[in-house]
Amino acid sequence: MVKKLLFLCLMSVLSVLLLGCTVNEYERRTDESNTLYLGSVGASFPTSFMPWLSRDGIAPTVASMLYNTLFTYDDTTGEFLGLIGKEWYYVDKEGNPILTQDGKIDYEALETIYSGSENNYLVVKVIIHDDVYWHDGKNLTVEDIYYTFDIGTNNALSNHAGALAWTADLQHTYSNGILTKQGMFTYENGAADKGYEIDESEKDTVMYLHVNKVLGAITSLFSTILILPKHVWEPIVSFDNQLNSKNPTAESLSHYQNPIGSGPYKLDALNSNAQVITIIRNEDYHLRDDDDFLYKVERIKFMLFQEQNVAIYALLKGHIDILDATISSNYLTLFEERPDIFVSNASGIFTQTLVLNVNPATSEKNELRDLLGITEFRRAIALAINQEELVDNVLNGAGMTSSAGLLRESLSDFYNEDADILRFDLDQRIIEANQLLDQIIPDKDPQGYRLLSKNRIKYSILGTPGEQEVISRLQVQLQKIGIEIEYKAKGSSPERTFLYNSKFDMTLQGVIFSLSNADIMYRAHFVTLSQSSNYGRLTDSVLSSKINEMRLSLNLNYKYQLLQELQELIAYQYYKIPLYTSNIISVARTDRYEGYIVVEGSTIFNGDSLKNIRRVEG
């Protein structure tokens, strides 16, 4: 009886499994339409598309395709490119644009005009395109922008910390839901009273902003905040039903899930779920490529893969067109001799550095860490590090060496080659490093390791398991100057465990500096002492004051000059020592689409590719 029961049980399960056994079809293989199948590696897809709440995984990418910011920022030129916005410039007290004869911003004049001004703000005039439409057909006007920024600053209505942070440089403030200082002016919102002339014909397209007196004040306002439709959100949002409420109403939820944006794509909600997101081209998008659509792909299907190996195989087998993920250089051999696969080996923008704990908190000081406070000692370590070897072995050649000034060469307007002080003959560097160390700590043990108070000089480097290889290489490299290195796992919250409280010798840290983040990042990495990226608590008055001067300068050309000087100052600190900049490797199939564009710092799924790729005929 038991035997029969077991047999029946087993057979029923197996038969149910086999019942479903039909020929397996993968949609992409038979899809003749202009649909791009895009694999994305992550834990899940969002089902809510309120753009301000879209923070993790693919959510910001999708949100940025459904909605628009005012402008996008081009890191290499330092210019803002129009999206909703058409043009912008600073204006003087009379509302006259501060421009040079060729229509560019006159930074010298800006500095002259505003340095002496009693106002503690800059006035920015923004002109938007008059043919921008929301996905429901309504015209996008400056009132939508006013509403977006206004609600962002009013935490009684939005309760959204991100929006407060993004609008922090706008001098438009609320206190308990009451406007205490107005910092935006449109035709319908006090422009005339403030003395800003806006013609009635321009009432939908012109606005003025009062922003903090730094050049970086406009960056997040222009290029971070996705503009919301006033006509959708104003009737819903109230003190009782804040944007980002913990208990959103059914109406709010419905708008989260069926977004109305102004971006180049619309959400196909019916064909989207937690594992696939489908977006379709907005045929009425205001930006065009002459007479053609700006983006050539009609429909994009984002397909979720939770395991990268499975996603790579799905690409190889033709289930998807592009894998939107950075893959390790170890996988490159998989794509060799595959003419149907395009490998994008784009230059990276993150520089991996070795950070030394140069100024630990008093409770964490010891004689070994005291050595790290000596500039010559740090220089010796920096000289011994062989970036070329790290690039060849850790990155399998898919990367490049970096300047000690920590800025990438592609940012040619403000890259300073004089800061590149560590790239000369390795043998010479090792000799110099040993000479420096011989003066500081001459004693060595029989194995050649240097001795301090009869103990080996030994430091641990915090890293993740994935970073063990680079630490092993550093172990060998620093052995040449008699310093012993060991790996120490940094764990899941290294800031709290080790970094913010000085409980470390050295750590690995990825850094990225550019014009768009210079105001924030230089201070965070080299000035701020508590809970910042300045893990080793460097304090240098010259560097600090130069960073401050750079942040406050209103003259972009002078700011560039200061950035160049900063690179040298940073290089000579030997505090964050560059190890390498790894390339961003991503892959795409070429049997359905061609014309992919490789963009620095991006995977193959980038704006330029989307504007350029075309369906392969036949």
Binding site: V2, L6, C21, N155, S220, N247, L304, G491, S492, D519
Partner: protein
Amino acid sequence: MQRSFVIKRILYAIFIFFVVLTLNFFIPRLGVNDPAERYYPPQGNMSEIEYEIIKQVTREQYGFDVSTFKQYTNYVSGLLRFDLGNSFKADNPKVSDLIAERLPWTLVLSVSNLVISLSIGLIFGTVAAWKRGRWQDSLLLNLSTISVALPAFFIALILSFYFGFELELFPAYTNPNMVSQFDWSLDAIKVVFYNAALPIISMSIGGIIGYSQRTRNSVIAVTNEEFVLTARAKGLSQNKVLFKHTLRNAMLPIVTAVGMSLSGLIGGAVIIEQIFNWNGMGTLFLEANNTNDYPLMMGIMLFMSTIAILANLIVELTYSLLDPRITVGEKR
């Protein structure tokens, strides 16, 4: 079984539940940085006061704006109302709703895995024990050795690549529309099991070998008991000796193992779900972990712990029912 014993075990389970609940609340907080600093670093010319406001708003948003003890009491009082809190996901869905949404899909895998593992394991283990020293027994021993060296995720990857990508007999990963299009029709059920085939097989291989080994050892132990020898001496048929006397008495450790494995029903498929894109509790947990979604993480952990506590309680209470020779809680 005495009533006082039952009450004691239930009270003990409740005590354990509260210990788990407390650890579950405090452990994730040990590694939490200020969420404001994680998500919103200071911008441009932002003043300290402005940044403090931003941090306060974020703390309110994430429920970190009151003392830890108050957070704990809020959490416990919420649990008494079966409220596990709200996830940090964009539209702040209830954790209980998310668990309810994903749980059935995990149960498809884990219950199928249990049924298959147990059925085949019992048969295979009994045969190996009965044919002790012969090729059936050697095969089991060799497979056991191999299974130790091959973790389930590796088997899953091999199955996905070979039967999914290469031979295309089964889906290499779950059809992304399977969940959204499920409507309880026979076709939809077929699609679910078709997509579940490789994950279930991946999970079952280890289970089959495990149960086989356990059954084999248990059957061998019972085979040497006097009552089995007596049954044989009485001239009963081999099948009767095996199924009526041996297997029945060898079941106790297996039932115990099944009881214990109930606690792993929910959490045992994390990696398998990840490989096959299966939209279950395992991937929900990974999602919570990747996004530092503490309410969701705590909710899932508590749910899994509760299942484990209940499973242990049931196993303990049913011992005496399964084997009348065992008298739990009774004075000798």
